[in-house]
């Protein structure tokens, strides 16, 4: 995969990028014919052709799993080794628990978590009733407040990350197929605008790291393509589940910018756009990442 590095120097603009010193040495494990089969049965697509809107940008798209060490990769291949599954299991209990004034649990309408297997691979999605794009988290809170008469979960709370992990876990192996056209198009375009906007004192856009420098080192770590098919992710560094918006916030904060809030319209738009950059990969969450 030498080709992806060919434009690297030409694309780098600004002292900030140079100062961060992306090192082009180790190309992670890209292209070494690895495969990820979880529990010996769920086959993941860890690399594939890019979706149409990224043709000419990427030769291939890669799950963030590809960029991790063998030990970290192995933790995701078996649900018992994966601590993220503890939290999905905790949400399974919450799923059956009556919450709110209407006497309903999640199971009242949805029977079991497995009935939501198609959710993660298609979200964020346009919500006709509300006239807006809904993330999984917004949808959960809509159920909580409008159907159950319950208090909503905090957008990035432990309970929400657990529930998001559960909904993702039952959809693992499904091909990401998030719609970017129709009524969602305007939000998608807003998300693309954010993706390519340089933020913060370091003047970095998402693309500077995750499009132009994936596979290169940032300090001693490998930059991924910034795909979100594997969220929520159990990160070794904080030993807990991390949401997509939590990760976005961390990235933008590290450009030394004021970040958008989790659950904000900006992050919903960015999530929609970034999700469609992974169309063709598979749902992996809860995954294991550094």
């Amino acid at each position: 995969m030498v080709t992806i590095k060919k434009n690297r120097l030409g694309l780098m603009g600004g002292a900030a990028v140079a100062a961060l010193a992306f090192a082009g040495t180790a190309m992670a494990d890209i292209g070494d014919n690895e495969s990820l089969v979880v529990n010996g049965e769920i086959e993941m697509v860890i690399e594939t052709d890019p979706p149409e809107h990224l043709q000419g940008v990427f030769d291939r798209i890669y799950s963030g799993w590809v960029f991790r060490s063998d030990e970290t990769q192995a933790m995701q291949a078996d649900d018992f080794e994966n601590p993220g599954m503890i939290f999905a299991d905790q949400a399974r209990e919450a799923f059956d628990t009556v919450m709110g004034s209407e006497g309903n649990s999640c199971a009242t309408c949805h029977e079991n978590p497995e009935s939501l297997a198609d959710v993660r691979s298609t979200y964020p999605v346009w919500d006709e009733e509300h006239g807006t794009v809904q993330t999984v988290e917004l949808q959960v809170n809509e159920c909580m407040t409008e159907r159950m008469g319950a208090e909503p979960y905090g957008y990035d709370s432990q309970e929400m990350r657990n529930m998001s992990a559960l909904i993702s876990s039952v959809g693992r192996g499904r091909i990401i197929n998030v719609a970017m056209d129709g009524p969602a198009q305007e939000t998608w375009e807003q998300g693309r605008e954010i993706y390519y906007t340089r933020y913060g004192l370091l003047e970095l856009s998402c693309a500077n790291c995750h499009e132009q420098n994936y596979g290169n080192n940032i300090r001693a770590d490998h930059l991924s393509q910034g795909q979100i098919n594997a969220f929520p992710a159990y990160r070794l560094r904080n030993a807990q589940l991390n949401s997509v918006h939590g990760r976005f916030r961390g990235c933008i904060r590290d450009t030394r910018a004021e970040t958008f809030a989790v659950g904000s319209p900006e992050f919903v738009a960015l999530e929609l756009y970034v999700a469609t950059r992974g169309n063709g990969l598979t749902v992996e969450g809860p995954s294991i990442r550094n």
Partner: protein
């Protein structure tokens, strides 16, 4: 104080008499090391699982003394001999005095 502590164990359901089986255990726990400080600069007090014991029909398989250098959500894999049908008992001891217990039955055929 640790909240929502969930133990998980994986034990085969069946074995032949005298067989050695592989056992895996995981428990959700922050394993606060006592080395970290909060945003006000105060040391966050240590709060860990300090001991883990696995027994089979009352006989010890392994007894582990645990220090703060064991990772969050402690994981152990080890082997046990199964002389007869019976029950594995797993006990985790928390600094705060809590004790978490899980059992798993195995049938010798």
């Amino acid at each position: 104080m640790a909240e929502n502590v969930t133990p998980r164990v994986r034990v085969p359901r069946e074995a032949s008499a005298g067989e050695t089986v592989s056992i895996r255990t995981l428990i959700s726990h922050p394993m606060e090391s006592g080395q970290r400080r909060d945003s006000d600069g105060n040391v966050i007090p240590r709060s860990i699982i300090n001991r883990f014991v696995c027994t089979f029909n009352g006989e010890t398989v392994v007894d582990v003394t645990i220090e703060p250098s064991v990772s969050t959500n402690p994981y152990f894999q080890f082997d046990a001999v199964v002389p007869e049908s019976g029950t594995f008992t797993f006990i985790w001891y928390d600094d705060d005095g809590s004790v978490y217990e899980e059992t798993a039955d195995i049938a010798v055929n």
